[in-house]
Subunit: 268 residues, 2 copies
Amino acid sequence: MVFPSLQAAGQAEAMPRYRAIVEYEGDGFVGWQRQDNGLSVQEVIEEALVNFCGAQVVVAAAGRTDSGVHARGQVIHFDLDHDHPADDVMGAVNFHVRPARVALLAVELAAPEFHARFDALARHYSYRIINRRAPLAVDHGSAWHVVAPLDVGQMNLAAARLVGRHDFTSFRAAQCQARSPEKTLDRLTVTRDGDQVIVRAQARSFLHNQVRIMVGALKQVGEGKWTPDDVTAALEAKDRARGPQTVPPHGLYLTRVDYSPADGPLNG
Amino acid sequence: MVFPSLQAAGQAEAMPRYRAIVEYEGDGFVGWQRQDNGLSVQEVIEEALVNFCGAQVVVAAAGRTDSGVHARGQVIHFDLDHDHPADDVMGAVNFHVRPARVALLAVELAAPEFHARFDALARHYSYRIINRRAPLAVDHGSAWHVVAPLDVGQMNLAAARLVGRHDFTSFRAAQCQARSPEKTLDRLTVTRDGDQVIVRAQARSFLHNQVRIMVGALKQVGEGKWTPDDVTAALEAKDRARGPQTVPPHGLYLTRVDYSPADGPLNG
């Protein structure tokens, strides 16, 4: 005779935790998180895991990217019913997610207490702008098209005003659910390569839409409509109505998430 | 009273010639050239010009790219019925081509005898490979997915065997219409940046499918299935059946076309 409660307890303790690096094309998804109004990346991966192991699996992610936002280095974790080789998990999920444009780049066994969201030490985002007169043909949907010439030097001066610990109330979505508007922005830089302008942002965590609103400010400065002082003024106003516009999602990429070396390197 | 024949002759002499740099996403087109079986980039641009100036215009291009091949720096020329500011031509064509993923990046008046195809001194192509186990999500349709690890050092050794003047019979499509299979390949290099492997090829002109067949050879070498000597043997066989496979079009980009400085710089 088997003691179901004991067996269940034993299984629960033994359930292996996996972590994975995920890439996805944001177009066509309502975002990372499951929602009633459309397909989410989370649902695609969870359904693929159901197809693989036959049991419902909940997947947690480092960044709850919005609709249209892309990821090249999202990190997730999930528990499976029993031990599967990490390579098998990767192959099976990448098979079952098709034709959705989602792919696991790397999968490995993680410590049982690893948490993709709460253990993240740094999140890295890139925002891609094509700065030219002509509309985008090849890069349509993978970058934001800005016609007015952008002064990258001025944009970097303005970016420096946002780095550090601040109350980012002017730079978060009205519906942002974070308890505190205070965040520490570790890095915000702007580089140009031909007609491509890339904004890179790094922080332990960001407020809802924070990167896209910061890019909105930098674009105003790049076009000469704002000065770096205007960015400081917007920050100090602590008022979303004084902040700049939120730029479109399709230029934004979650590129990397860092964890403690104690969590081991992800081979992505 | 007007003398129609004289007027027509006068107009013909005065017809201004324009040249332009063109970008397009190859997916969804039968290629550059007009064909009966689907939409070509040529047709899209010619129809946009009809909408702009009301007259039928024939557009000539430097490279007759195949179905699925992308361009970031195709060069074209065409004659208009009378002088229009180049900026107006660019704006109008970019408006009328929509929603096709085609864009003129720069337009300028050219010398009356300028010919995009016959005056080209060098054509530059890039072939983009993503070399990893996971399928492509973000880069789906804009790169070729190769799973087996590619040895870029060996690929460069093999590439050097193809540089120079050769009979490229083994490296051209069966339906290639060039009179001579002899071409001078000026450059063929392979570089890696993370999981992205880029093959760059430069020549005054290429045979039909030559770049994609050369990349096929380099891939064989990168995977260790061929040695650089096998590439030399394929070249010397002068037999398409001894050549490697043609790789898919969606990794290929026409990136640039060079002309004599006497033709003036294109501000693209």
